[in-house]
Amino acid sequence: MRNDGTLNRREVTSVLLRDPGDLLVVSGLGAPSYDAAAAGDRTLNFYLWGAMGGAAMIGLGIALAQPSRRVLVLTGDGEMLMGLGSLATIAAAGVQNLAVAVLDNARYGETGSQPSHTGLTTDLAAVAAACGWANTATARSMDEAETLRLRLRREHLFAVLRIAPDEPPRHLPPRDGAYLSGRFRRAIGVAAD
């Protein structure tokens, strides 16, 4: 396996997050958080700057607590690889209102572009399928990304988007976790607890 991704990560993210409505978004640390912020900061985005491997599980906790809302986890291949077990946990939990989109550049971009497992031997969509995710997809074109935009808001879907290894300028979201969690909770109306 090699990195065959050609998609521009900012274009992909702007498609996936276009007209987000009340979509609840959790972004994994590093570039996916910058991408989500670049697509437009909003109170219903919860950006991670750490907790590597935890993005999908945070999405599961939100999805269980808010069954009438849709949750999208936007993360990178390295972050997803660290939380590989959570793919089994989420499949077993049986939620329908959670989707995961992995921006896969087959490398650890934040630390010097070292190759990740997805560029060596590992197919994350196949891992998710083997964990019990009924719906998985891999996008290599913008047309496919456009199709995924709606599927990610309707299905319990695990999607991999093969992006190019370019590093666009960093677009830094707020990094105060207490601020981010407080505004998220207020935005969905649960802050009183």
Binding site: F46, A51, M52, G54, I58, I62, A88, T89, R185, I188
Partner: protein, 172 residues
């Protein structure tokens, strides 16, 4: 193992604290609590592959307006360390009940290092540590720890001592 009254009281304390999501890596010492959570239609149970998943799940639950608890044994505490930065940084509540191994008539030497390190590791990671040594204190300590966690928005662990739970018996 027959049902134990104190475990029923601990479950009632979690119910009274409005816990809705119960995640766990199974432990024999938590078996009754896990079964009670599964049987309760008001609770959602999540079986984890590794303990730090439960910290992220609890953060998500809180973001979504629910309260969670993580059930694990002391060997799992070591898996959690970096993920504990999540509730600490986000000033979120976090509650975990930890069954202790490696401290009382332990047969398995592999349980001893992490069991011995558990209170210090949790403290170093910013988690308040409470400990239950006797059955009559269990429910009160869990209730007070839940109040501390959710009312003051801090991470709190309750260590259930191996003497209380009963050392695991290995029969050849």
């Amino acid at each position: 193992m027959p049902p134990r009254a104190w475990q029923g009281e601990v479950f009632a304390a979690l119910k009274a604290a409005r816990i809705k999501q119960v995640s766990y890596v199974p432990d024999a010492g938590h078996a009754q609590l896990i079964a009670s959570a599964h049987a309760d239609p008001e609770m959602q149970t999540v079986v984890l592959t590794t303990e730090e998943e439960g910290i992220a799940l609890a953060a998500g639950a809180w973001l979504g307006g629910q309260r969670a608890v993580l059930l694990m044994q002391s060997s799992g505490v070591g898996n959690c360390i970096n993920m504990l930065s999540l509730p600490v940084n986000c000033r979120m509540p976090f509650l975990t009940l930890v069954t202790m191994r490696g401290e009382w008539a332990e047969f398995n030497p592999w349980q001893v290092p992490m069991g011995s390190a558990t209170p210090a590791v949790l403290t170093a990671a910013g988690v308040h540590v409470r400990r239950v040594d006797s059955a009559e204190d269990a429910a009160e300590i869990v209730a007070a720890s839940a109040a501390l966690a959710f009312d003051s928005a801090v991470p709190v662990s309750v260590l259930l001592s191996q003497r209380l739970i009963g050392a695991k018996v290995f029969v050849k």
